[in-house]
């Protein structure tokens, strides 16, 4: 790649910020799911983002949560640009686009359709699932590494940071588990055990197997959605990030060269 010009560094910053927004239901970055179809810094520095979900029917509340996340991500860009975010081909695209542009809350956009939905509760529900899924990947990775259950459950934050995994699910989820742990339990000390239930209870060594079986069920559910969404997204619209299987600029920016199989299918 060429040395980063001011323009390129803005593009990189834009994609990095967008990559921090997760699909709440799948706990996967929206950029990896291919939902961000286009994100550009135009001539005057303003930003345009086109967003497309796997189906016309995707749940509007999740669409809203993601677009709200995009809005917040764009607010953090260093050059404070004006921006336009647009949801395409969704049964509520018009309502959501108008609402997002006006900075409205979900309930305001959908009015009576939203009924008694509390988005914060929904966010928390999926926050718990994300915590469990990330934790499972790390725990399984540590077990595969040959650590005993006692050793694993005795690990603190320092030990977690020192752990190294082969490329794979555990390596991917370790920093994400760390982030979820620190966010959920801000009062924990560096020397406190880093693996505990999402309610904050310790996990007894003898029951780690059963505990992992519960976590596995959470992952199976989330993976089902993820695999389905990927398949649907890919076939609904041509994957724009990859042209004829060759990586594009975006792939380099997203540090996904070689292009992961999932986006190629």
């Amino acid at each position: 790649m060429q040395p980063a010009s001011a323009f390129t560094s803005r593009v990189i910053e834009l994609w990095r910020r967008l990559g921090e927004v997760n699909d709440p239901e799948l706990d996967e970055p929206i950029t990896e799911m291919g939902f961000v179809e286009r994100a550009e810094v135009v001539g005057d520095g303003s930003v345009e983002v086109d967003f497309r979900l796997p189906t016309y029917w995707c749940s509007p509340n999740f669409a809203f949560l993601m677009l709200d996340g995009v809005r917040k991500a764009l607010d953090q860009l260093s050059w404070s640009p004006a921006y336009r975010v647009k949801l395409h081909d969704h049964m509520f695209a018009e309502e959501v686009n108008r609402g997002i542009a006006a900075g409205k809350a979900f309930g305001e956009i959908f009015g009576e359709l939203a009924e008694d939905l509390d988005l914060e509760t929904l966010r928390e529900t999926f926050g718990v699932k994300a915590f469990k899924r990330r934790q499972e990947a790390v725990l399984v990775g540590l077990r595969q590494h040959g650590l005993t259950d006692r050793e694993i459950l005795g690990m603190d934050l320092t030990a977690l940071d020192a752990a190294r995994f082969e490329p794979g699910e555990a390596a991917k989820q370790k920093p994400r588990y760390r982030a979820a742990y620190v966010e959920r339990f801000p009062g924990r000390r560096q020397v406190d055990p880093v693996f505990l239930t999402c309610e904050g209870a310790p996990i007894p060594t003898l029951t780690l197997g059963a505990y992992l079986a519960d976590l596995r069920a959470v992952r199976i559910n989330m993976e089902f959605n993820g695999a389905l969404c990927r398949g649907l997204k890919h076939t609904r619209y041509k994957e724009l990030g990859v042209v004829d299987g060759e990586p594009t600029l975006v792939d380099f920016i997203m540090d996904r060269v070689p292009v992961p199989a999932a986006t190629r299918i």
């Binding site: 796997p54 189906t55 016309y56 029917w57 749940s59 509007p60 509340n61 049964m91 979900f106 959908f110 359709l113 939203a114 009924e115 939905l117 529900t125 079986a213 519960d214 596995r216 069920a217 959470v218 199976i220 559910n221 989330m222 993976e223 089902f224 959605n225 695999a227 389905l228 990927r230 398949g231 649907l232 890919h234 076939t235 609904r236």
Partner: protein, 340 residues
């Protein structure tokens, strides 16, 4: 009939098939177009490449295609039609009971036609259940709790209106209630995948069988827990099974959970034709072994005996199919497509 590579004949009941018309001519509005497009995305997203159909064939296939894919090229002995009317999206319905019944009449013994109703229609729903029983002698129904109806954006199996309908089903001997709990259309703001209403309904209607289609994915854990508590709750494999091709290890995890929690007697095969065709699904299922570490973790195996149950024996029990008699009958008169 599916003949295994070892030469064994397996009786196949396909618990989930459709004969739809999603063609542009039948679409009432943009929703109709988007609905069939979504199904097509499932088809292209999870099928092996060599099984892909042209879009126009997928939108509307002939009775001949149907019979060929299920019974001639395909391994099915008996196929169950699940009615999905979607009358707000399609002029003559997406999969209407009249159309499926006509096909069923042409091929006696080959099809079981299930009806559907919307309990929110109140008295009309009750009348319609009577009508379906008298006209088509239905043995089961397909329920879609996430469907919109006027101001309502979904319903629950344990709503009072629904209970009136199930009481009537029980009385009329419509015993098999297939419930769509899986990927939904238009889940506006609820957790439309929630499966807890199955628990209540199954407890209160012990005489009915509750077949949860798509085995409650993506709420497999909740579903398994409920199905373990309730003896009359079953898992339909439609949509879960195609993962056997694209993500075999993942399929292993799903089937291991099902076997561990609810056991081999309560899992039913379904192709969800025409989203997928049964032949490759059955072939792959027969050849499948759960990866060793997953099998060891849950202490389960997917043996040939269990596969035979999943492919036909379990559904035969629910629908009173006398397999020995039907085998003999089908052997004497192999399937041939009737002239139009």
């Amino acid at each position: 009939m599916y003949r295994t590579p070892e030469g064994k004949d397996i009786f196949v009941v396909d618990g989930h098939t459709h004969f739809w018309d999603g063609s542009p001519e039948n679409q009432k509005n943009i929703h109709g177009k988007q609905f069939i497009d979504c199904f097509y995305a499932y088809h292209t997203g999870l099928s092996p490449k060599e099984q892909l159909w042209e879009k126009s064939k997928f939108e509307k296939y002939s009775a001949e295609n149907l019979c060929n894919d299920l019974f001639i090229e395909g391994p099915d002995d008996i196929a169950i039609f699940q009615t999905t009317s979607l009358s707000d999206f399609y002029k003559t319905g997406f999969g209407c009971i009249k159309r499926t019944s006509e096909i069923a009449k042409k091929y006696p013994g080959r099809f079981i036609v299930n009806g559907s109703f919307d309990p929110r229609d109140g008295e009309k729903a009750l009348e319609y259940i009577h009508f379906m029983k008298e006209t088509y002698d239905i043995k089961g129904v397909k329920m879609y709790t996430a469907e919109w109806n006027g101001a309502s954006k979904g319903w629950r199996l344990n709503d009072p209106d629904a209970y009136k309908c199930f009481e009537l089903c029980d009385k009329l001997g419509i015993r098999n209630i297939h419930v769509h709990k899986g990927p939904t259309i238009i889940p506006l703001n609820k957790d439309a995948f929630d499966v807890h209403d199955v628990d209540h309904a199954a407890t209160d209607f012990q005489g009915l069988n509750w077949i949860v289609e798509h085995c409650g994915l993506p709420r497999l854990d909740d579903f398994c827990w409920i199905a373990t508590q309730e003896t009359n709750v079953y898992a339909g494999l439609a949509v879960a099974l195609p993962f056997i091709h694209s993500r075999p290890r993942y399929f292993g995890e799903v089937i291991a959970e099902l076997l561990f929690w609810i056991g081999p007697e309560k899992i039913l095969f379904g192709s969800d034709y025409a989203i997928w065709t049964p032949r490759w699904l059955v072939e792959k299922l027969w050849a499948y072994r759960i990866p060793e570490d997953i099998a060891a973790e849950r202490g389960v195996q997917l043996t040939d005996e269990i596969k035979e149950k999943i492919l036909g024996l379990n559904a035969a029990r629910l629908y009173d199919i006398d397999i020995a008699a039907r085998k003999a009958e089908f052997a004497n008169s192999p399937f041939s497509i009737a002239a139009e």
